[in-house]
């Protein structure tokens, strides 16, 4: 009813939503340009694009996938801590399906025990079931999201280890490795991200689901009273998040060609959550979300990582930098700081 008058406001909000992550990204890229003038150089080898920027996108594709699912969950006012563990589970499932015989690994690049489509579908189903479990605990069990997903986060890596019996299964099957290593001008994983993004966008912006999710995030109870099946909305959000985590697990395991239940997706839940927070979706509060801003957030995270490696910060010490970034982002987004800035800025303006 107020659509006509709301339209400019909505547009302004969307712009400001993308504004912050884009500024951060620009600062990081500028920093890289100053540090290494050839940072933006692109090479073409066999018609495929290579370069630092492409690397950032390719390495960031798993976090982007996670961020898409995480955005929906955070928009419902929840959080999913288990995505890293679900990645490990799906990597283990996929590797086991390709090579079930743990004793004698076949290193023939053309051999798989299960046809590739079955591997992909089975893995994604398992991951979605993990999401279903989380969603059921949150929506129907009434458990706080952080706690409910913590359970799978604790148990998930144990489950992943049990699936492969503690063995790191190497994957030699070439078509599977294409998911994370293939190139069609651009890295193939980016096309996967694009496909999942389009599905998520259509699902949330071309059906009422997106509005339902935002409504549940803003006020779950009043959504219920306005006739929204708020439990089912939450369930769908968590299931989709599980699906995305499964996809990310596929890409990650294919890119390193093993199922490493200990390390695949380790700490990725944090990157994904941070990406969404940088994208401006309010953690804990939920409500309005922007999938695209979350993708930018994911790229920001990966750009930070890549630039730190470029400077020569050791991999583990990088965590400290990320921690400081989180603190800065939180400060920038916090109401207290904004009010403080406004108070400081106001007398000058007057």
């Amino acid at each position: 009813m107020a659509r006509a008058s709301a339209a400019p406001t909505v547009r302004r909000v969307t712009e400001s939503r993308l504004f912050f992550p884009l500024v951060v990204l620009a600062v990081i890229l500028l920093f890289n340009l100053v540090y290494d003038a050839g940072f933006f150089a692109l090479d073409t080898i066999d018609g495929h694009l290579y370069g630092n920027v492409i690397d950032i996108l390719r390495d960031g594709s798993t976090v982007m996938l996670l961020a898409i699912g995480m955005t929906l969950v955070i928009a419902t006012g929840g959080v999913d801590l288990s995505v890293g563990a679900v990645m490990a589970i799906s990597a283990s499932v996929a590797a086991l399906l390709i090579n079930p015989d743990l004793q004698s690994l076949s290193n023939d690049p053309n051999v798989t025990a299960t046809p590739l489509p079955v591997v992909l579908i089975a893995t994604l189903v398992v991951a979605t079931v993990c999401g279903l479990w989380n969603g059921a605990l949150v929506a129907y069990g009434g458990i706080q999201p952080m706690v409910a997903t913590l359970i799978l986060m604790i148990a998930g890596r144990g489950i992943a280890q049990l699936i492969t019996n503690g063995v790191r299964i190497q994957i030699f099957y070439e078509p599977y490795a294409f998911l994370g290593n293939g190139w069609i001008i651009l890295p193939f994983s980016l096309f996967i991200v694009a496909a999942v993004f389009v599905v998520a966008w259509l699902m949330t912006r071309r059906t009422a689901l997106g509005m339902f999710i935002e409504s549940v995030g803003i006020n779950s109870r009043s959504s219920f009273f306005s006739g929204i099946n708020e439990r089912r909305v939450k369930l769908v959000a968590y299931m989709f998040c599980g699906f995305c985590a499964g996809m990310a697990g596929l890409v990650a395991s294919s890119s390193i060609r093993t199922s490493d239940a200990n390390n695949i997706g380790l700490n990725f839940e944090l990157d994904a959550i941070l990406a969404v927070v940088i994208g401006g979706t309010a953690l804990g509060a939920g409500g309005r979300f922007s999938l695209f801003a979350s993708i930018i957030g994911a790229i920001v995270m990966q750009a930070i990582t890549t630039s730190m490696y470029a400077i020569g910060v050791p991999a583990h010490a990088l965590l400290a930098v990320k921690g400081v970034v989180v603190v800065l982002v939180i400060l920038l987004l916090s109401v207290q700081v904004r009010e403080f800035v406004r108070r400081v800025a106001a007398p000058k303006a007057a």
Partner: protein
């Protein structure tokens, strides 16, 4: 008569999770003692305390944080940072007592910083402490990429002194059941924590904040100061746990205590503390830690099961205890709703009951 029974039941309902925890511990240990002859050895029981002083110490700190309605995900990082910093300082020749004091101060400083973010900038505890976890773990590797061994007389004394249990050991041959100095330290921390939680104004304020922060504020309780103290105290506990771990393994490395925060939260929840805050007992945490210890011991004695079952069982137990708590909370809501309909309870009571669930 029925009134009396009902009142008694509802008064004791808060003990149900604690009773369940203790029963579970006894059942699990009893089962082990029946099946495996080795577990009847009293030393195995003492080893439950000896194996992980750092787990209990950090779980005690976490209990206060969770009771206040918060969460601290940084413990693993702070513990690892303490081991690395301790090892580096000792290698550099710093006085060991000074090292201990410095480490405890560092832990408190980290805790206080996170507490300030949570209290004054209204950052969600989960995010603020996550950032703390990353910074702490990152700093470990800034100090050293590799594990640093600790060769120090004091650390040897702390780690290797056997305190013999009277009646179970022979003092002349120094053979028999024993505990280590760190076990005494952890039990001391436990005793202090029980006292602080249940017999001081600070402890009552923590419970009040966890029950309803706004009400606590309106009651004139010093909410900000208490929250700061809770996180500072947890930083202290993490640092102490880090020292305990460094004594245990006599080295320091940034990859130690990976995922410790999750085990610790699991132990606190299994100990019957409500994750929404305000309900729970410090003593329950002891049994939570012991149950995790028993699970590990059972898996070791079994020999067939892989150690990956430990996180799975811990996860399931955490879930089970959350389930019990939600059930009890639902029961309470229904009861207060009934009371409201009958008109026995004052409206404020019913409202408060609903708020708490």
């Amino acid at each position: 008569m029925a009134d009396w029974l009902g009142a008694r039941l509802s008064r004791n309902r808060r003990f149900i999770p604690l009773a369940a925890t203790i029963t579970l511990f006894c059942l699990a240990y009893g089962y082990g003692a029946v099946v495996y002859e080795g577990m009847r050895d009293p030393q195995v029981f003492l080893n439950l305390f000896r194996a992980s002083p750092f787990l209990l110490i950090s779980a005690i700190g976490m209990t206060f944080v969770i009771l206040s309605g918060g969460i601290d995900l940084s413990v693993g990082g702070v513990v690892a940072l303490t081991t690395v910093a301790t090892a580096a300082l000792l290698r550099g020749g710093t006085d060991p007592w000074l090292v201990i004091v410095l480490m405890l101060l560092m832990g408190m400083a980290i805790g206080a910083t996170m507490g300030a973010f949570i209290t004054f900038l209204k950052v969600q505890p989960f995010i603020a402490t996550l950032a703390g976890l990353w910074v702490a773990r990152g700093l470990c590797f800034w100090i050293s990429d590799d594990a640093i061994p600790i060769r120090n007389r004091l650390w040897e004394i702390l780690g290797q002194t056997k305190i013999l249990i009277p009646g179970l050991a022979d003092p002349t041959t120094k053979q028999g059941e024993f505990v280590s100095i760190m076990v005494v330290v952890e039990l001391l921390v436990l005793a202090v924590a029980v006292f602080v939680a249940h017999y001081t104004r600070f402890g009552r304020t923590v419970y009040a904040i966890g029950g309803n922060e706004l009400s606590a504020r309106l009651m004139g309780l010093r909410v900000n100061r208490t929250k700061m103290l809770v996180y500072t105290m947890n930083g202290f506990c993490s640092a102490l746990a880090g020292i305990a771990l460094s004594v245990d393994v006599s080295s320091g490395h940034g990859l130690y205590a990976m995922g410790l925060e999750l085990t610790v939260i699991g132990a606190v929840v299994i100990g019957g503390t409500l994750l929404t805050g305000g309900v729970g007992y410090v003593i329950g945490t002891l049994f939570g830690v012991l149950i995790i210890g028993v699970i590990q011991t059972l898996i070791q004695f079994n020999g067939q099961l892989s150690s990956w079952w430990t996180p799975i069982v811990v996860g399931l137990l955490t879930l089970a205890f959350i389930g019990i708590q939600s059930f009890l909370a639902a029961l309470k809501t229904r009861q207060s709703a009934v009371q409201r309909r009958v008109g026995h309870a004052r409206p404020t009571d019913a409202g408060a009951g609903e708020e708490a669930t």
